[in-house]
């Protein structure tokens, strides 16, 4: 029997829509879940996905992708790549798996919301495949690290992190809960797939795949490249939805969702990806600085994606352009200084050679962040380790849940952006974080940051031990310097030379 070509039947099959007779349209597609944009079913039938795939095609391609990634893993299982890897690279893997794997699983439910509740038939088809993608990503990124759990307890955080109150996980959950777990189907398509996946996961996965290959970790490189091929397909779910909204006079609503999601994604990447690229990755394996990567992937490409769509650049674009050269240095210094509260061992990345690279990529680094590191390095060289650890909490932002920070040293410029709402004083790390809160205060007002929880007596005893227990960090899991401070030897030697001279 002759089989029709896909394009001879695809549009007709996927647009064969129900016409509800026994229930109203609002009962079939409750506005809270389908999107309160006031657009009828007919408007959404114009949704035209750029990437068309049928279920049999999907199964065939995915099977091949899985076979590829799993066979590389099987072939390299005895290679001792993990055992021999630079400790900084192990930290990259630990941070990535913990922050990402279970989030992918959660994303399957966001995709499922689009699959069931979107009024656009094409979106329902795309997100059916997207939902299966996310289940696959969750499973792979739990299965791949599992072989290392017996060698290194921190690897257990690939599974464990998402259920804990570790501060970075509170930040990740706050963001993903906001953009994908508690939004209607159309908003998910804009905030998760268009804003987050088109803009940012590209960078995390392409950037890391390149770094992994450089570091000789071909299992990891293959895994995340395999995932990225799915992302680049289902990230296209949001674009056509934006088009429908703009064509129907809903640009303002669409723009606001983009602006909120892009900012949150940026803050999360400044703490997760920035330190990895500019500090953890061994100097000889760095291809580009984080800022250069951001400029290529976000500023150049995403800017074009926005304007091609008929949207404006977010109102805060100038603030964002300034931040991409600054914020992640503070996020690195902060996460490193509070290192017992991490489930990975951060690499300091501040040897004289690394500092020369930082100064070249970020002119003025030595006079700003370098000033703080100078004090830290002196303490390590002097063996004054007590002073290299914190004795209080950094104040965190009530929106992004990350430390409120700015430029230190000679360029000192650190600002709080406070707001009093219903008698409670909230603190924000930027004008944009505060703006997001102000768009829908009741959505966010009840959340307690890690500092709010501490002040409310929810963390007992009120010291580092109590905080680590609250965050679920057991002995053997708490973070410390990735290289056991071996990098400080060069500074010790320099000091000896100076003394001898």
């Amino acid at each position: 029997m002759a089989v029709l070509n896909r394009m001879d039947w695809y549009d007709l099959a996927r647009s064969t829509n129900w016409t509800p007779k026994y229930v109203t349209e609002d009962e079939l597609f409750p506005p809270k879940l389908s999107g309160e944009f006031g657009l009828p079913l007919s408007a959404w039938e114009n949704y035209d996905e750029p990437y068309k795939q049928t279920y049999p095609e999907y199964v065939k391609v995915q099977r091949e992708k899985d076979a590829g990634a799993y066979s590389v893993k099987a072939a390299l299982e005895r290679s001792r790549i993990f055992e021999n890897a630079d400790p900084g690279w192990k930290s990259v893997m630990k941070a990535h798996y913990g922050a990402i794997a279970r989030g992918e699983y959660a994303a399957a439910s966001a995709e499922a919301r689009m699959m069931r509740f979107s009024k656009a038939p094409g979106m329902r088809n795309m997100s059916t495949l997207g939902c299966m993608d996310e289940i696959r990503h969750g499973q792979m990124q739990l299965y791949f690290p599992h072989e290392h759990v017996s060698k290194d307890r921190q690897m257990d955080w690939a599974f464990k992190a998402y259920d804990t109150n570790e501060w970075a996980m509170i930040a990740a959950r706050h963001f993903f809960d906001d953009i994908m777990m508690t939004r209607d189907a159309i908003s998910v398509s804009i905030m998760l797939t268009f804003s987050f996946e088109t803009g940012f996961t590209n960078m995390q996965f392409l950037g890391l795949a390149a770094d992994a290959a450089e570091a000789g970790d071909h299992t990891f490189a293959n895994l995340i490249s395999s995932i990225q091929t799915d992302e680049s397909r289902h990230a296209q779910i949001g674009g056509p939805a934006l088009k429908v909204l703009i064509e129907n006079g809903k640009k303002e609503e669409a723009q606001k969702r983009v602006d909120i999601a892009v900012w949150g994604a940026w803050k999360l990447f400044s703490v997760l990806t920035g330190p990895i690229m500019d500090y953890y990755t061994p100097l000889e394996h760095r291809k580009q600085s984080f800022k250069e990567f951001m400029e290529e992937w976000i500023v150049a490409q995403f800017e074009r994606a926005l304007t091609d769509m008929g949207l404006d650049l977010p109102w805060y674009w100038d603030i964002f352009l300034k931040d991409i050269g600054q914020t992640h240095h503070g996020m690195h210094l902060g996460s490193y200084f509070w290192r017992p509260t991490l489930w990975w061992n951060p690499a300091a990345g501040v040897t004289p050679d690394e500092r020369a690279w930082l100064e070249e990529k970020y002119p003025g680094w030595n006079d700003t962040w370098g000033q703080c590191w100078d004090v830290f390095i002196d303490n390590v060289v002097d063996g004054n380790m007590a002073m290299t650890y914190p004795e209080t909490l950094p104040y965190v932002c009530n929106m992004c849940q990350l430390p409120i920070l700015g430029v230190p040293g000679k360029g000192w410029d650190v600002k709080d952006y406070p707001l009093e709402y219903n008698g409670r004083l909230y603190h924000f790390g930027s004008e944009v974080d505060r703006w997001v809160f102000e768009q829908e205060p009741e959505r966010y007002a009840g959340h307690l940051s890690i500092v709010d929880r501490f002040l409310a007596g929810m963390i007992q005893p009120m010291d580092l031990g109590g905080a680590l227990q609250y965050m679920g960090l057991a002995p053997g899991e708490i973070g410390d310097d990735a290289h056991n401070y071996a990098w400080a030897e060069v500074y010790r030697a320099l000091r000896e030379t100076r003394k001898a001279g």
């Binding site: 503070g330 210094l333 902060g334 200084f337 962040w369 000033q371 703080c372 100078d374 004090v375 830290f376 303490n379 002073m387 290299t388 914190p390 004795e391 209080t392 909490l393 950094p394 104040y395 430390p403 409120i404 920070l405 700015g406 430029v407 230190p408 040293g409 000192w412 650190v414 600002k415 709080d416 406070p418 009093e420 004083l425 603190h427 500092v451 501490f454 002040l455």
Partner: protein
């Protein structure tokens, strides 16, 4: 006498930090409590300087012997801790 949380924005440091003080503390004592978490950890000491407190973003220094209870701070309000030549 009551514990009172303030947020320290310490000159030369990179991050805001939670600093518990007492309502009976003077501004000099607030500055000293904030310094514990910055000076010698990420900010070098400045001999010949003292530390002063001001409301966040203000240029006006608060009197050195002003008490926390008298300053009218809100709990967790951010204060700038800045160096002043002695």
């Amino acid at each position: 006498m009551a514990l009172f949380p303030l947020t320290s924005n310490f000159e030369g440091d990179f991050v805001l930090q939670l600093v518990p003080v007492d309502t009976e503390h003077t501004m000099d004592e607030v500055a000293a409590a904030a310094a514990v978490h910055s000076v010698g950890r990420r900010v070098r000491d400045r001999p010949g300087h003292i530390l002063r407190v001001r409301r966040h973003g203000s240029t006006e220094l608060l009197p050195r012997n002003l008490k926390v209870a008298e300053a009218g701070f809100k709990p967790t309000e951010t204060v700038d801790i800045v160096w002043q030549a002695a």
